[in-house]
């Protein structure tokens, strides 16, 4: 697993996810995102999933949990770059990530925070 890229813009944590995430890798990554957000006391978190062409129900649920956990910690979260196919899959899976902010690129994500 390549190391997770973590970028900080002022008090915003930006994390681009790599393509082809295995279940265990995905779990580790979400934990890392949450603890990083806590450590740096980020106000907002941007998760960029534009590199993901496909998601399955596991990854979809994991994303939802991650966003909820971050929201519970009072962080504003924006998911960036959900591909059309991924969006359709999430809706079909009944995981429309209700109440989650989304944006199509980093710029508009940062604007939303």
């Amino acid at each position: 697993m390549p190391p997770l890229t973590k970028m900080h813009f002022a008090d915003v944590l930006v994390v681009p996810l790599q393509e082809a995430l295995h279940d265990t890798a995905a779990e580790e990554i979400t934990e890392e995102i949450i603890s990083e957000a806590e450590r740096k006391n980020a106000r907002g978190v941007v998760i960029d999933i534009s590199a993901l062409d496909v998601v399955d129900s596991f990854l979809g649920r994991l994303l939802q949990e991650t966003v909820r956990a971050l929201a519970a910690m009072g962080k504003k979260v924006v998911l960036v770059g959900i591909q059309p196919g991924v969006a359709i899959t999430l809706v079909e899976l009944g995981l429309p990530l209700d109440g989650i902010e989304t944006a199509f690129n980093l710029e508009s994500a940062l604007k939303k925070l």
Binding site: P84, A87, V91, E92, T102, F104
Partner: protein
Amino acid sequence: MTRSNIDYESIFRNTPIAVRTVSKDKIVLASNKEMAALSGVPMDKAIGMPCDEQFGGELCETACPLKQAIEGKKIVLEAEKTGANGSEILVRMYASPLVSNDGETIGIIESYIDITREHEDEARIVSFQRELLEVSTPVITVWDGVVSVPIMGTLDSERTQLMMENLLEAIVDREAETAIIDISGIATVDSSVADHLIRTAKAVRLVGAVPILTGINANIAQTIARLGIELEGLKTMSTLRDGLRYAISLQKADQ
């Protein structure tokens, strides 16, 4: 006219469907006029020929149905064959047991119908339908950062799927912030149509744009209310104009 003075041979010869008889050891016993036309092998020349030489194809090597047909199993299948002048043709084949005068099964009767044209027509119809679907869900950029998709006629799941794909692609490609789904061209809305619309709106939100549903006339509004359809926080407006005005106001608020 009695049964006995009918020339049964002539029935076989002149049947307007390609027919041949094949022995157990895969030798052609007889073949009719249509068969000659289909295979390109004259009637008299075909007799005594190996059956796959007269009229063969891939099927002969992979899944020859002779044995099953002899056992009396009803055979109907579609296969590619080499027709007259070596062209590839698609045929529907029927096979049944051939019985001698003493009641012994000595081979099979095969009938062929050329369905090449039929098959091509079907493929063409499918591609036309697809094309028609494509053009029936155009995604138009109506303003900077605002795309719109007008929906006409009926919205079934296949169309929803295609509309969703087209719309989402357009949003991502054109970096649209707002997507207006205009249903003024839809006659009626039932719960399944509403469900399709809601799913589309959710997907739009996921790729990062704001979905707006416009074109809800009095009739549709009443139906929605009567059926108790919950549009789940989806912004709805009666005209496309209102929707566009709202989309532009969102952009101004952003700046």
